[in-house]
């Protein structure tokens, strides 16, 4: 039986966690589009999921997907640079990135969108607030629009920036580790 679920996530880690909960309940992801997940109930089988941001295109992407298939990992969906991967739990663990450099790179990719959303919101907010000294000067409606939307965008942008920066910091590899152990470069 197929089911469709509409859900929006800002945090890819939380999205992955939610998908894995669905997989534990026997739901196999068969597609994703515009915030809508399509599952097929295959219980008692259980599925594991990973969201990958490989950054490949064209033949390289096809080659990578073939490589994953060969390793028992299927591509369940692809959207906006994100690739939804699944593996039947009975076929072993879904291991994608195991080197510390790769893990850190993926974590950075996952939180880069927080920073880009933050930067664009702060920029737009500041531009609106700047209108208080230009176009909106002497115009009460324009002044209120600039104050309300400018402040909202600036505050919201700052929240995204702080959240993005703190998550990037949290997922950065520990300095102590790299001082003692050889760095994994693969």
């Amino acid at each position: 039986m197929k089911t469709r679920v509409k859900k929006t996530f800002l945090d890819i880690n939380k999205e992955e966690e939610w998908l894995n909960q669905q997989g534990e309940n026997g739901l196999m992801l068969i597609g994703y589009n515009h915030g809508e997940y399509e599952f097929e109930d295959v219980s008692p089988a259980k599925y594991q999921y990973k969201i990958d941001i490989p950054g490949f295109s064209g033949s390289k992407k096809k080659d990578y997907f073939d490589f994953l298939e060969e390793s028992g990992i299927s591509v369940a969906g692809e959207y906006g640079g994100r690739v939804y991967l699944r593996k039947n739990r009975s076929h072993g663990p879904l291991e994608l990135y195991t080197g510390s450099v790769d893990i850190s790179k993926q974590a950075k990719k996952r939180y880069t969108h927080f920073l880009s959303v933050g930067i664009s919101q702060v920029t737009f907010g500041v531009v609106l607030l700047a209108q208080l000294f230009g176009y909106a000067k002497g115009n009460p409606t324009a002044t209120w629009i600039s104050v309300i939307f400018g402040s909202m965008l600036t505050v919201s942008g700052m929240v995204f920036l702080v959240k993005g920066a703190s998550r990037l910091k949290k997922h950065a590899p520990a300095k102590e580790k790299t001082r003692i152990w050889e760095e994994q470069r693969s």
């Binding site: 990958d52 490989p54 990578y64 073939d66 490589f67 994953l68 298939e69 060969e70 390793s71 028992g72 990992i73 291991e95 994608l96 990135y97 195991t98 080197g99 790769d102 050889e182 760095e183 994994q184 470069r185 693969s186």
Partner: protein
């Protein structure tokens, strides 16, 4: 030995995953077999995920340390093998590891 090769050998140790990939590719192998062989050989201590292995194989091919074997175009699995250049780097890493062991044995008085 090339100057660049000497410099690399003096300054850097191979990542453990790269060491095992080069070791296993002394015989032709495809990606999935490599992951399984390395996990088995190390009693599951060194496990290389598919994404990490794909990136490593790609980098090693760019460096010409390994190459893809000609395969049947209908076959999706690509087989890889170590090149002479890869063998040289692997030999340098082995020499470095042997030196480490020798120094440890000398200091601990085990080498006599």
């Amino acid at each position: 030995m090339e100057e660049g090769m000497k410099k690399a050998a003096n300054n850097r140790a191979l990542a453990e995953s790269v060491y095992y990939i080069l070791l296993c590719l002394h015989r032709p192998a495809h990606g999935y077999a490599l992951m399984k062989d390395i996990a088995e050989m190390t009693d599951n201590r060194v496990r290389i995920g598919a994404g990490t292995l794909y990136g490593a194989l790609d980098n090693l091919q760019k460096k010409k340390w390994i190459r893809q074997l000609d395969s049947d175009p209908r076959e999706r699995k690509n087989e890889y093998i170590i090149t002479d250049k890869g063998k040289e780097y692997f030999a340098m890493e082995l020499a470095r590891l042997e030196e480490l062991i020798k120094h440890a044995q000398d200091v601990r008085g085990e080498g006599k």
